[in-house]
Symmetry: C2
Subunit: 414 residues, 2 copies
């Protein structure tokens, strides 16, 4: 099955937003085993929507549209699909009720225009909208199909997953199942080298993606709909783990959110242990990434951003002599920061960061990108020296990632 995406929205042509809908749908189609040859974006203009739809359907079996389902007169995707197939628009009483109920719930008045959202080309499969007002639909004719989705990403994703994905799975008869392994501490090219002979497989396939100092390995297996892909995926996963060892910090399925921070947090919660942070150059980013994860309050009691030397001494008990002899950007300071934060807070573990995030403040001895991360715990404290590259935000992000990994390895070793 060959598909195309047709995005409708003048805001896309004005560059007000990036077309993240097209990215999401593309990724999911690839996972679902649907071939995608083209994205097209046009504005809210009836003639151009119709023309683009005509072209796309002449090439593909299925066109997925996003946008143009709102209540205004500009919103006309559904109408153009109906016109294209020569189908009259008909009111769907159930959808009208749903639109009405939603308007009432969010305290808005139901206007004439909202009625429009309950009309669909005759015979369409209607897809209710669980997150917004505008329902979507699928229109089929002569072996071709058009799926009409709303533009707001949250509404689009929900409708795609609950309603369009099962439809596509049934239609394509195939299913691609994926599993992701997250790797930290081995660079992209080293990972590639270590796994080189595993990339040649046809089914399952292996691909690498880069993140913030980390690599994601995706294993994808193509199976018939309904078949279990685990027996194809598990041996490859085991082999990758054997080669990369501890560097693989998480394995998960599509749609799951995993990070070094959430992995470390889960490990701590499982042990009933706690962590605190003493940050200089990362300036709150480290503790913020931990607290991003729901349930963080079970393991994160507090954190400190000690940007100035005064604060390092007063809040964490870093000694004036340490700062005088080694400076704030030093392994010694990172160690005392972590030890002080652990002592003061009573947490099981403490992480610390101190470095030069730039763009200013670098010297020949301590250039931009020099960062020390420290970890203190029941078995003592340790600090690591890093030379990071990138802009201010990137250096801070990498410093946090390295600190989380330091703690992860300590937790694994205990």
């Amino acid at each position: 099955m060959v598909a195309e995406i047709l995005s409708v929205g003048t805001e896309l042509l004005m560059g007000q937003i990036a077309n993240t809908d097209a990215q999401y749908i593309s990724r999911r189609l690839s996972e679902l085993g649907v071939t995608l040859y083209r994205h097209t974006t046009v504005g809210d203009n009836p003639a151009r929507v119709k023309q683009a739809l005509h072209e796309a359907l002449s090439r593909a079996d299925m066109v997925i549209t996003t946008g143009g389902l709102g209540p205004t007169e500009d919103d006309l995707t559904k109408e153009m699909v109906g016109e294209f197939f020569g189908l009259p628009m008909e009111l769907d009483a159930k959808s009208l009720e749903a639109v009405r109920a939603r308007m009432c719930r969010i305290g808005r008045e139901m206007t004439e225009n909202n009625n429009k959202q309950a009309y669909f080309p005759r015979g369409a499969i209607i897809m209710p909208n669980a997150c917004g007002t505008a329902p979507g639909c699928i229109v089929e004719q002569d072996g071709k199909a058009v799926a009409v989705l709303p533009g707001p990403p949250r509404e689009m994703k929900d409708m795609f997953e609950r309603q369009l994905a099962p439809y596509l799975r049934k239609r394509s008869g195939l299913h691609i199942e994926s599993r992701f392994l997250r790797v930290f501490g081995v660079g992209e090219s080293k990972t590639e080298t270590l796994l080189l002979d595993l990339f040649h497989g046809e089914n399952p396939t292996l691909a690498l993606y880069c993140g913030a100092g980390e690599v994601t390995a995706r294993i994808s297996a193509r199976v018939r709909a309904g078949e279990d892909a685990t027996p194809m995926i598990a041996p490859l996963e085991a082999e990758i783990r054997r080669r990369l060892g501890d560097a693989v910090y998480a394995a998960y399925g599509p749609g799951e959110e995993v990070s070094l921070a959430s992995t470390v947090l889960k490990m701590l919660i499982a042990r009933g242990e706690t962590v605190t942070a003493a940050e200089s150059c990362t300036g709150g980013m480290l503790v913020s990434h931990l607290i991003d994860c729901p349930g963080a309050s079970a393991a994160v009691l507090e954190g400190h951003v000690t940007y100035s030397n005064q604060a390092k001494m007063r809040v964490l008990g870093v000694r004036a002599e340490t700062l005088a002899a080694h400076g704030a950007v030093s392994a010694e300071c990172a160690l005392e920061m972590a030890e002080g934060a652990r002592r003061e807070s009573g947490a099981t573990w403490a992480l610390s960061t101190t470095g030069v995030a730039g763009p200013d403040g670098g010297t020949p001895e301590k250039p931009v990108g020099l960062v020390y991360v420290g970890v203190a715990g029941p078995d003592g404290a340790k600090a690591e020296r890093l030379m990071l590259r990138g802009d201010r935000d990137w250096i801070r992000t990498l410093a946090c990632q390295n600190a989380f990994n330091l703690l992860r390895l300590r937790l694994l070793a205990r």
Copy 2:
């Protein structure tokens, strides 16, 4: 002049990246007064690239392509443009030298394939690449033109701004200048209502965009290339400021980065004052947003994340009686957190946050989204109650924005 964008890259069709290049170019074309009717994305496939190019040029005066300029055999955008116009590929000695020099500088070997990057359709205007290896070009024929840009966003933007934008300005003879006003504390629909009669102008035009609890008003004036748009923009800006007052927190031109955090930080630095943060529900996000801004160390000495009640008492001196009588999520606690942080740190100002960010932890009396933000300064302390909507991350973001605005208004009043 009517343009189209043609993005080339299988990674876009796989959904591995969002098409931010298309967004950037779209925004800039709109600012440059160039009409854009369509984006098309195809993979690295010669036949489909050529077909899409043919279609785009049949509709538009100008096609801007991105991607497909690398050294591999898959990279063939330039070759397809040459083929389309019937122009042979010719070596450009200067480009070959530049590619060679760059490969040497980054310590890579010059391969046969890299030579390919120095070939262009005969007669092309060559655009050197200041940030990468692959040069771009502009090919003109019979009043139509194709501009070929590299895919990596940093390289594309640099080439667009330095080389393509001046070309487009000359060709279109028009120039759209924009100015942005950032508004906080007046919602989108209220802002719209207050400015209603100002949206009808043809030149300059006014448009609104939504951000994190804030609104951006864009004033755009179309002038002949070389003409100054200020006399058209300034009166409209003055009128908006008159109507919205203090809610307008910044005004800036295209490409500038402005946020509530950076605005507050600038105000503090200008006064030689300092700020500290005492955070509960925002968990380090507030201080992290401040430290995001280069130069932050002049005004941000430290911050504290006191997630547990114990930490609130020990680190900030919040009284046990206050917590017992009002709970941690209360105006009283927010006040004592801010006062304590200011007292302990010696900073001129302190901000505090305490609330229920969710998804768990809400009660009928203190539901998810209830947040108190506090500010303490030379004239005493104040707390504000907020009822915020959204997911965990959004509630934390809005809480930070409100805290920054609270401080901004206090600074304005002094």
